[in-house]
């Protein structure tokens, strides 16, 4: 399973974003969405992934040097 998309709710309903698009959002917005659990994770087949699994994949993805690493720097 691979994490390819996230959906975020910035007050106007959920909008799907690619990972680079998500990491391009201002840090404050990202933190706000994470803390308020206004985030959903999707695999390559657009299936919803549980939050804990989504975060694990997100962390693994950034650790393995995916396209997102440059923008996030998350180790």
């Amino acid at each position: 399973m691979r994490l390819t998309q996230v959906a975020v709710d910035r007050g106007e309903g959920y909008v799907k974003l690619t990972l680079p698009e998500f990491f391009a959002l201002p840090l404050v917005d990202r933190i706000q969405m994470l803390l308020h659990q206004r985030m959903r994770f999707y695999d390559e087949a657009s299936n919803l992934i549980p939050i804990s699994e989504g975060l694990k994949l997100l962390r693994e993805g950034t650790r393995n040097g995916s396209a997102t690493q440059a923008s996030t720097g998350v180790p």
């Binding site: 201002p26 840090l27 404050v28 990202r30 933190i31 706000q32 994470l34 803390l35 308020h36 659990q37 985030m39 939050i51 804990s52 975060l55 997100l58 962390r59 996030t72 720097g73 998350v74 180790p75």
Partner: protein, 237 residues
Amino acid sequence: MATVDLEEDAGEREGRIAARASELLQERRQRLLRYVDRMFLALMGGQWVFGILVALFFSPYGWEGKQRVIHFHVYTAVFLGGLLSLFPMVLIWRRPGWVVTRHVVAVSQMLWSALLIHLSGGRIETHFHVFGSLAFLAFYLDWKVLGSASAVVVADHLLRGLFWPESVYGIVNPEWWRFLEHAFWVVFEDVFLVLACSYGLAELTSAARRQAEVETLRETDQLKTFALEMALAEARA
């Protein structure tokens, strides 16, 4: 400087916990229903064999004039017993956990009690099968199933008591109200079984709620950790 609102909305959080708890309750309930269905699958098969043995033991042969023939009870046990067992067994196989399946199981189980009572010549000891069956049916944690089963028992005792009393009570002239006596003891057991069902369901609901709370707490913790990691990494960069 931008500020971050760290407080999660309590209403939203409660809604999420409630939704997850309901999902977990459904999962657990389905698992339980399927387990009890499987238990009855085995019981239905076993009862069929047992019914045939009872018929063979109590009345293996009858007489047609001077000719000894297989008793009608043996055919009843094989064919009527087969029908009573196979219908719920097919439903359990095809639709486990379905509401109709467990009501069919309940009705069949009570008709099995009726058949066994008949095959044993209305022996009072065989009536215990009714009470054992009600207890097994309570494993479904669905009081309506007990309602269906009890209605069948009462109707069976009433009708057979009127039209074929020796088949149900082993005597030809029981008091007309005897079915009420049997019904009373069925209701007596039902009261406690319904309470047990209600308690069991409440426990299941409470366990699902606790698990949902733990999951939500863990998720919140993971999200906070990730948010912090992200903030620290970007501060370092």
